[in-house]
């Protein structure tokens, strides 16, 4: 296979913590250390994104997924590790080359209201990248702008509005139009639907899916919402506390998770269907920093053993090609089980809601847990 469009290796990003505040704060009577405590938001993350692919990064708050997004688009410099875009080292990109990089790699942020200038009209917002990158078509500037709005499903009368005159969904469409203005090859989407309400979210999801098809853009999509990942991504990375714990094709990974964290994550998300039963996989307690040497999940993992605290977990290939960072895999103990199961015999004949008639993905021979409802 040819080299990936974007290639990140062993990314590490440390932030200095204020010694008296936040994580690792002082206990009573403790004196501040001379060296500020470091927090590794990214702790050895590697990632390949191939041309035309959509890669999802999923994890809960504090797992480092937004830091990863910012490193990938060169808004944050990693402490160590390398990122290569189109065979060039991103860290070595100089001033003149940066402009070219920005033209090709764009980002859409989570909160559209906060990422649009409140005093600029849509026209100015969308035109800015065109001006900066010298892409303005002098003869047909208006047409150029309208074309961009049309791509994201907005109309000509949106051009002269201010962000506060737009709904949340429309604001996010403007953000997407702005990102698309330079015709990027790679689009990094950081929680693009999280700030939107349910009925708007689905429209933005559909827009992103159709854009990918029409414009053949490569996506890196950061989200805590697995349904967004499932709808858009071919492959998914699961992150926990700055490390990647599992990588694989979206469907396989969701249907038969291997890592205990992936399992717990899938088991935790409420499914709007009372007939889907889940394995009761639970993490213990809250997010805690792990002992430096061991697996980061160890303090919360329901299957943790002595070995998990003692040594770090490396990503290891499983037999279907997935990568998993769990010591049970090297021990050959993993027997993946579907987290979600559908109660058999519950499929009512004609009474089902129209959208519920598709078959659910169940591995053959899976035994539904029929008596759990009682």
């Amino acid at each position: 296979m040819t080299e990936a469009l974007l290639q990140a290796r062993e990314l590490r990003k440390e932030f200095a913590l204020h010694s008296s505040l936040g994580l690792g704060g002082l206990r009573n009577g403790e004196r501040p250390a001379k060296e500020p405590t470091k927090l590794a938001a990214l702790d050895g993350v590697s990632l390949d994104v191939h041309q035309g692919e959509a890669v999802g990064v999923v994890g809960e708050s504090g797992c480092g997924k937004s830091t990863l997004a910012k490193c990938l688009v060169k808004l944050v410099e990693p402490t160590s590790g390398t990122i290569r875009y189109d065979s060039r080292d991103v860290a070595k990109i100089g001033r003149d080359e940066l402009k070219h990089f920005r033209e090709q790699v764009q980002i859409v942020f989570q909160d559209p209201a906060a990422s649009l200038d409140p005093r600029w009209r849509v026209r100015q917002i969308v035109a800015e990248p065109l001006r900066i990158h010298g892409l303005v078509d002098r003869g047909n500037f208006q047409g150029q702008l309208l074309e961009l709005l049309k791509i994201v499903g907005l109309r000509a009368d949106h051009l002269d509005r201010l962000p506060n005159e737009l709904s949340g969904g429309e604001q996010q469409r403007v953000s997407i139009a702005r990102a698309l203005a330079t015709r990027p090859r790679l689009l990094v989407l950081d929680e693009p639907t999280s700030a939107l309400d349910a009925s708007t979210r689905i429209h933005i999801l559909n827009l992103l899916a159709s854009l990918r098809e029409r414009l053949r853009i490569t996506y890196v999509l950061i989200s805590h919402d697995l349904s967004v990942i499932r709808a858009l991504c071919d492959r998914v990375l699961v992150m926990y506390l700055g490390r990647v714990v599992e990588v694989g094709p979206t469907e396989t990974l969701f249907d038969l998770p291997l890592h205990p964290y992936t399992e717990a994550l899938l088991a935790a998300i409420p499914v709007p269907d009372p007939d889907v039963l889940k394995q009761p996989v639970r993490l213990r307690g809250d997010l805690t920093r792990a002992p430096a040497a061991g697996c980061s999940l160890a303090p919360r993992c329901p299957m943790a053993e002595q070995a998990c605290i003692a040594r770090p977990q490396k990503l290891v290939g499983w037999r279907d090609g997935r990568l998993v960072a769990c010591h049970r895999i090297s021990e050959g103990e993993i027997q993946p089980v579907p987290v979600l199961q559908r109660i058999s015999g519950s499929k009512s004949s004609s009474q089902e809601a129209g959208n519920d008639t598709h078959a659910r993905i169940l591995p053959s021979g899976a035994q539904p847990i029929a008596d759990m409802e009682a």
Binding site: S167, S227, R230, A268, P270, D275, R282, N355
Partner: protein
């Protein structure tokens, strides 16, 4: 089956909101009931009136809002007729509430343990030392590791999940019979959210407390509620057993809502049938369906007649002209699916 009278019974409750824009009926003749030990999920988009309904039960409506009709029976007593002193005895003791913004509920200047102990002192008249011991036991009970240390912590020192656990401990201290949980896990990570719901269901099976679960998340309701009431623009539009609502949704709004949720457990893309946005509550007329402008099946009658309540199966009722009632009696087409 729980056959006797419900613990909470809201009958034809209306709440009006008076603001500079005018007067709006944000809760319009809403009826619901919660039986002893039952979990009722009250679902709706923001602004649909679900929190207003809950606040009316506790008589904690904001100043601009007032109850303009109906009854709220808690164990047979109409809470709307009680004096403020009687209400204070009822809150905490009979009905407790947990909020989304639990960090704002706890006093930032008091240690967590002392705040829980206060509930015992006020409602049960226990001494300080006994109250403190019971507070620590309760923190332990809600799954907080190292409860003695946490009881001496201030709220800002705890994580979101721990604060919510502590809050649940506070609320359960006086063993209320009804717990109103308003978006109790919004803002928490999903792996923490599921722990909180595990805890609530344990507490429920131990104490038989009834729970009114208010949320916008249909997934949460499918997993945790016995019955569901769907709210839209101040009306309850459909109510029934959870399974029945999810498997045989009748109201066009419920159907649209269910169709617009993207799912991570299936490959089928969601397809939103939900058009437009929730109506501006200040412009709504009294006697018509409030969903009519967004409804794919709207009829003439929907514009000028209040929909009837039609029972479509046992315990499952829908507030819509499509299912008979006035339509059938005037010879209109009766749609049964």
């Amino acid at each position: 089956m729980r056959a006797n009278t419900p613990l909470l019974s809201v009958e034809d409750l209306s709440v009006d909101l008076d603001v500079f824009r005018g007067r709006a009926r944000v809760v319009d003749r809403v009826s619901l009931h919660v039986a002893e030990g039952e979990v009722l999920g009250l679902v709706g988009e923001s602004g649909s009136g679900k929190s207003m309904t809950a606040m009316a039960v506790l008589r904690l409506l904001p100043h601009a809002a007032s109850v303009s009709g109906g009854r709220i029976l808690l164990d047979g007593t109409d809470v709307l007729t009680l004096s403020e002193a009687q209400m204070r005895r009822l809150r905490g003791r009979q009905v407790a509430m947990i909020f989304q913004t639990s960090l704002l509920v706890l006093n930032p200047l008091l240690r967590v343990g002392d705040q829980i102990a206060r509930v015992f002192e006020i409602h049960l008249g226990t001494t300080k030392s006994v109250a403190h011991a019971r507070a620590v036991a309760l923190l332990d009970r809600v799954g907080i590791r190292n409860p003695e240390r946490v009881s001496r912590s201030y709220p800002h020192e705890l994580s979101g999940g721990m604060v919510q656990r502590a809050l649940i401990a506070v609320m359960m201290a006086a063993q209320p019979r009804l717990l109103i949980a308003d978006e109790p896990t919004t803002g928490l990570d999903v792996t923490t959210e599921v722990q909180i719901f595990d805890l609530l269901s344990e507490i429920r099976s131990e104490t038989n407390v009834a729970i009114l679960l208010i949320t916008h998340d249909l997934g949460t309701v499918a997993t945790n509620a016995d019955r569901v009431a769907i709210m839209h623009a101040g009306h309850i539009v459909e109510t029934g057993p959870t399974r029945s609502i999810f498997k045989q949704p009748k109201h066009p709004y419920t159907r649209a809502l269910l169709s617009s949720i993207p799912r991570f457990d299936t490959n089928s893309p969601a397809d939103s049938q939900l058009r437009g946005q929730a109506p501006d509550i200040f412009t709504l007329r009294a006697d018509r369906c409030r969903f009519v402008d967004r409804c794919p099946a709207a009829m003439e009658i929907c514009l000028d007649q209040r929909p009837p309540w039609v029972e479509v199966s046992e315990g499952h009722a829908v507030f819509c002209h499509l299912f008979g009632g006035a339509v059938a009696s005037t010879g209109g087409e009766r749609v049964v699916d």
